[in-house]
Each structure stands twice: as C-alpha cells, then as structure tokens.
C-alpha cells in the first residue's frame, strides 16, 4: 500500500520535476516562465505525433523536445529581443500552445483520438532490489522502484546534472550572474542575450519532456489540454523550492503526493472531498511567497528585460 502510494507520487512528480527544472534554468537566467504549461502541452502532443510518425518512442521524445524548444525560442525572441512583458508573453505562449495542440490534434487525429498502438517509453525492470535485506525493505523497494518508467530515472539524473551544472561549473555561474545582475555580467564579457536564449530554450525542451512523459510515458495517448495546470504546479514547485534544483524536486514530490492522495481519497470516502488535496500545492505556495514559513526569494533580475548599452 505504501509502495503503491510512493510510486504514484513519483509518477505524479516526474512531469513536475522536468518542467520545474526547465523553469529553473529560465528564471535563474532572469526570464520569468509562465509559459511552462504551454511548453509541456507542446511536448505532450508532439511526443505522441512523433512516436506515431517515426514508430519509435525515441523519435517521439526528440520531436517533443524540438517542439517545446521551438515554442520556447519564440517566447525568448519576444521576451529577450523585443523586450516584451514576460508575463504577457508567457500567457500568450500558453494560449497559443493550447490552441495549436488542440487544432493539430483535431486536424490530424479527429474525433477517434490518437492511435492506441504507439510505442510507449519503456519501464525499467530491476529484479535484484528484492534481495536487499531485511525482506520487508527489499519487498518495499522492489514494489516502489522495481518497475519505474525510464523517464522517472531520467528525472533523477537530470536533477543531479542540473545541480552540478548550476552550482559547480562556470556555465552555471554565468547563468546565475545574468539572472542576478545582468549589467555586471555584461561588463565582464558574458553575453546576456546568449545565456538567456540558451536557458529559455532549454527550459522549453525540459518542460516538453515533462509533457512527453505524461502522454507517451504514462497514458500513451493525447487529449486536449491534457496537462491541466501541471505547468503551473511546476511553477509553484519551483517557487516553493526556492529556485533550487533539489528544493524544486522536494516540492514536486510533495505536490505529486498530494495529487496522488487526491486521486485515491474519493475511492475511500466516495465524495469529492479528495479534490481539495489538488489545491494543496497552490495553498502551500501561496503561504511560501507570503513568507509565513521562510520567504522564498526569486533571482534579483527575474522578469526584467535587459537592454544592451
């Protein structure tokens, strides 16, 4: 029972983790990314479309990444080059992705829905976990981690890589410098635009991977607006986690847990009370930004367009 809840939590948390890490890159470089939801949705649709066309899940993932990156590039052009308001631009990206994926879905697949023989992202089978003593622990580990989707493992890898990149490499230092004080970064020869373009595009690629996990990794189909606000939960996780990789991951786990609970409670109590748990991520984030428990503070230059001198 606990292992079922844990694996359900991990399943719910994975798309959030991908998108939140994506948001981390963008926001750490000083560009607010409200458009995560739309970029996830692009990934969700194009993963299915790509897998359908290339007959392989790898192709699906690659096309999803390209689609998310392309949408993010459009956003980057408006937010960085044209210095458009980033909130307005992000909102536009969400509308645009919703319309575009819905349009293409109806246009290509019509009312029958996506084909049901798509090559999904495989699970990773690990059989030796059960042998870990004591037996109860081994059983628990086996049930929790023995059958996980490849994407969940990839999210763990991404997390470590992101942490190393962001805090242990010169490139991470550059990204953070641009997000904190772009003028100073520019003065020492860092190209603010290049760093921001790269970071925003990467955020779209990662968010799209989160969306691809939802569609190609989990339900193996696409439906209109299937992300249903997960991009915003990811944004909440990023904020709740204080713009740090492991903080965001912890928040994603917590929020994944609450939505796993929300989906299980109605079975137990036969009422809609469980849906209140769906609101938990947002309530917690509201409390976090209000500063009741350890105020979470964004990068200093986030949301401000930079103009070269």
């Amino acid at each position: 029972m606990w292992s079922a809840l844990l694996s359900a939590t991990l399943r719910s948390a994975t798309p959030l983790t991908f998108a939140a890490i994506g948001g981390l890159f963008s926001e750490r470089s000083g560009v607010v990314n409200i458009g995560l939801e739309g970029m996830m949705l692009m990934g969700a649709f194009f993963a299915i479309w790509g897998a359908d066309r290339t007959h392989s899940w790898v192709g699906g993932l690659l096309i999803a990444m390209a689609a998310g990156g392309a949408l993010a590039l459009v956003y980057a052009y408006f937010a960085i080059q044209l210095r458009a308001d980033q909130i307005v631009g992000g909102t536009a990206i969400n509308f645009l992705a919703l319309g575009l994926t819905g349009y293409l879905y109806i246009d290509i697949y019509g009312v029958q829905g996506t084909p049901n023989n798509l090559p999904g992202i495989p699970d990773v089978h690990i059989s030796w976990l059960e042998k870990i003593p004591p037996h109860g622990l081994g059983r628990f580990l086996q049930d929790s981690f023995g059958q996980m989707n490849l994407m969940i493992w990839m999210s763990f890898v991404l997390l470590v890589v992101t942490w190393l990149l962001m805090f242990k490499t010169p490139m991470g230092l550059r990204i953070r410098a641009v997000g904190e004080h772009p003028r100073a970064a520019d003065t020492v020869g860092i190209s603010v635009y290049r760093v921001r373009y790269g970071s925003v595009t990467l955020s779209g690629v990662l968010a799209a991977l989160g969306g691809a996990y939802l569609s190609l990794g989990f339900v193996h189909s696409f439906s209109e607006n299937m992300t249903a606000g997960r991009g915003f939960i990811a944004l909440a996780a990023l904020i709740f986690g204080g713009w740090r990789p492991f903080g965001a991951f912890g928040a994603a786990l917590l929020f994944g847990f609450s939505s796993a609970l929300a989906r299980r409670l109605p079975d137990a109590y036969g009422s809609s009370a469980g849906t209140l748990f769906e609101a938990l991520p947002y309530v917690l984030t509201l409390i976090a930004v209000a500063g009741v428990i350890g105020r979470s503070i964004p990068p200093a230059a986030v949301g401000r367009p930079y103009k070269k001198q």
Partner: protein, 420 residues
Amino acid sequence: MSEPPSEERVEPPSPPEPAAGENPLGAPSVAARFALYQRAGGIVTPLITAALAFAVGGLVVLASTGKNPLSTYQAIFNGTGLKWLFPWVTGAARAQAALNLQQTLLLTIPLVLTGLAVAFAFRCGLFNIGGQGQYIVGSLVAVQAGIWFAGISRPVHILIAVALAAIAGGLWAGIAGFLRATVGAHEVITTIMLNWIALWIGSYMVGFGGPLQNPKDNSIPATADIAHSATLPVFWGDPVLQGLHIGFFVAIGALAVFWVILNRTTLGYEVRAVGFNAEAARYGGIAVGRSYFTAMAISGAFAGLAGSLDLLGWEFHLDLTVVQGSTIGFFGIAVALLGRNSSVGIACSALLFGALINGTSTRTLDPSVFQPELAGNLTRIIQGLVVLFVGADVLVLYLWQARRKVRRRVRPASAKEVGT
C-alpha cells in the same frame, strides 16, 4: 545567437526611447517620436495587432486544411450575427442573425467585465491573472445566493446575489492585493495560485457529494437551479432560447464606472499615480499599499460580477465542467491588452472576442464550411497571437515605422543606410 543575421530583424527595434542619432534618415525629435508612439499606440497598434493575428490564423487554416481562409472567416462572421446591424438583411436571415447576435452579446458581457478586471489592476501597475478564479468565486456565491433567498422580490434578490458575488470576487482578489501591499509577494504568482485554489474549491463544492451539489439529483456534478426570482430578465429575444439579459446594461454601466473611478475620483487618481510610478506616488504622499489592495479588490469585483451575470443570466446552475473548463477570465487578459486598458477599447475588443468565440462555436458555425472543433481552437490561437503581439507592441510599432521608412526612402534616393 545574440545577433543572428536575419534580414527581417535588421536591429532590435528600440522605441520608445531609441538611441538617438542612429537613424541614417535624420533622427526625428523626441517629441515627434512620442507623438508617433501616441498616435500609433492609440488605435493603430490594436488594429495592426488584430490584423496580424487574424492573418497568421488564416495561414494556419490555409496550411492545415487547404481551405480558403477568407471564406472560413466569412462563415465565422455569419455565425456572429453581426449581420443584424446591416439594414439590408431582412426576413429569415435577419431573425437568424438576431439569434446569433444575442449569443455574441451574451458572451461579450462577461468579457467586458473580466477585461475591466485585468485593466483596472493594470492601471495600478498590477497584473491580475486571477480573473478566472475571481469569476469562479463570483459564480459560486451567486448560485448559492440565488438558491437561498427564494421568495423575496425579484429586484432585491438579483441585487443581493450580484452584490455578494462582486464582493466575494473583490475579496478573493484582495488577498493578492493585501499580500502585495504587506509582504510584497508578486501578484502574478499569488493570483495564479488563487486561480487554481478557486478551481479546486469550486470542484469540491459542486462535485459529487460536495456541499453545493444538487440534493435532488446526485448523479451529476452540478448545483441545483437558482430560484426564478434570482434570474435576470431578458429584454431581447426568447428567455427559453437564451435571450439577451439585462446584464448587458450592467456591463455598459461597468465601463462607465471604470472610466469615472479612474478619471474623476481621488481613488482613481491615486491608482493611476501608483501605476505610473509607485515610488513617486509614495513620495507624493499616496498610500501605495492601500492603492494596491483597493485596485485588486475593485478588479476582482468586476470579475466576480462577470461570474454572477453569467450564472443568473443564462446558466442558472453551476456545472463542474464550467468550473473546470471555463476560460472567460483568461480571455479578459486578451481583451484588456487589445483594448489598451481603456473603456472604449475594452468594449470593442470584448465584442471582437465575443463574436469570435460565438462565431466559432458548434452552435453557429456551418460545419460544411469549416469544422467547428477546429475553429474553436483557431480562436485560441488567435487569442494567443493577439496577446503575444500586444505584449510586443515594439514589434508592431517597428512594422509601422518600417512602413514610414519605406515611404520616405522612396522619395530621397540619396538617403543611404550608413550601417547598423
């Protein structure tokens, strides 16, 4: 990557304060440039923006289905009922157009109000993305008030329900205003969170076993119908066929109230002052925090009002699908941005989007011309493009300026590009 060699983008367009002297054609004076910005910004930018969005939408239609975009847009236009305004349309066509126009205006009412909600906060320098949540809260309160006070006289009942919904919407948005004023929490983040909190609380309330679910029929997740005394009277069309209700005049009144508050009251003056420059306003003795709260509360009241008018006017009960699927509040963002946060502009852009939503609905669009499911998504694409282009009015201004440059370049052949 920072300077890609693209012909389209010769240099990053730089109004409103471009580096002077770079212009090889002789830099116009600051005043002239400002005048251009004003003129172009006032009416030309929204027009170009809308035209661009529709043009790109047309390209999508052409590229994906191969259908003529113009005939598609014409079919959409036929569904909006705006033909009713033409005196030469008569007979059955006129009756049909009247029916369609009633639906268009029914959609325009909440769009005006959610547009005003976004615009009022904008004028105070705040971005209220939470119109959707405030709309849901308003709907929830209105449905409960509509069920509760059954038996009292109709005007009083309506007034109570509408007022309570507006207050509830105002308080919901007021949370974001309060947090901004006290701890400085960014209103974009708080209103996004409040949106989803409202959505899930609403889902709980009207959902299976929820406190507001219809006690007489627990097979569907929806509330009971409101009492007849709470329904808004219909003044144009058949009440059974969703005629146009008196909320239409409330929306027009709200446009006037918006203008009066902003331009003729101390409160509005303070709100605008804070919107222009919060620090200067503070230095001038304006309580900036209080302005944030008031602006958000008034903004939320508009959105709450929108929720109540939809509910009392034609929905009559609150459905789970409406709580979770409605996007009227988000359309308000596009309405306000395209309308440049002014009363007249919001009225026009709300009508545009109301017509677009109605014209692309399964109810009005001729499926033999264009699939309504596709057209509904086309509306969303156009909405997204409008917001994208409005957000980058620099781009539109740039195009506008390029047009002028081209015109000027034609005359003096000697004027050469000196290099960028």
